[in-house]
Amino acid sequence: MFSELASQAAGAAIAAAAKWGTVRGLGAAHARVQDIALQQSVRKVTYYYFYSDVLALVFLNYRAQVALCGNAVSVCGDTLVGNVIRVALERFGRRTLPFRFRDRALAIRDVKAMVSEPAPISISADGLGRAGVVDEGLARLLQSRGGVAVPVSVRAMHAASLSLAGRLTIPLPGAALSVVIGRNVLSRRDIGEFTAELQAAILAASIAADALAAPGQK
């Protein structure tokens, strides 16, 4: 009960803090999303991002005032931060899917829902593993889900790091954001090669987002 109240309060605070500020790369990101949406009629889409970008991604959704990643359904882990993200996204009208990874039966049920979801989903690539490294579990989820994987990287020019989970970055209110939606990655049979390709694609998107966020860029 307390946890849900805390999540509601924190989610509302994030929603309030997220609204103002500029976004670099938004036009190109919109064009990419529209291009992906055209392909979506024939195959499923999964957007993936590094967990450190998750709050910047929420800020971006508020600022862009549109569902940037189409009608993507956001996967939220059953953690304090995951619940806060869920509240913030649902306040914006986004649909979420839970991932209750601590309970085996519920985790299986939730993964089944992710694999079956016809709408695009967005999910952290490293939420359960090493920060900045695409988890092989994500690659296997993508293999089961099929379709195309699309990396997303969002950077805040001014942000604070929170030691909670060792990897959470909180954009400061009003901080400019940069966004890059990377290249499509198609599923491969070899899990090692597929994971490496997912990693390469999101690193390329991250480097591009960092470059866009550099001083002097517009």
Partner: protein, 89 residues
């Protein structure tokens, strides 16, 4: 898509799906006490097995809170419940 005529047929189908997903022999699945401990079956592998069984028998498998999905017998029980009928043994 097929129909389930007996529990042994259902069990055979589940063991085959597990053997393919976990890349181990049919016999080793049969003798396993914990698929999670012995073959590192995670939730994605479990879902792939569930999909294979669903496709074979044209059913939807419901997994409820508290279900164990860790042995062949666990999975047979869950599928039987989803089928909603008593199978001929």
């Amino acid at each position: 898509m097929g129909s389930v005529s007996s529990e042994s047929e259902l069990k055979d189908s589940i063991v085959r799906a597990l053997a393919i997903e976990l890349k181990v022999s049919y016999e080793s699945i049969l003798s396993a006490r914990s698929l999670r401990d012995e073959f590192k079956m995670d939730s994605i592998a479990a879902v792939n097995v569930a999909f294979a069984v669903e496709e074979e028998f044209g059913i939807e498998i419901e997994i409820n809170e508290g279900d164990r999905f860790d042995s062949v017998d666990d999975i047979v029980g869950i599928v039987r419940r989803s089928l909603g009928l008593e199978l001929a043994r």
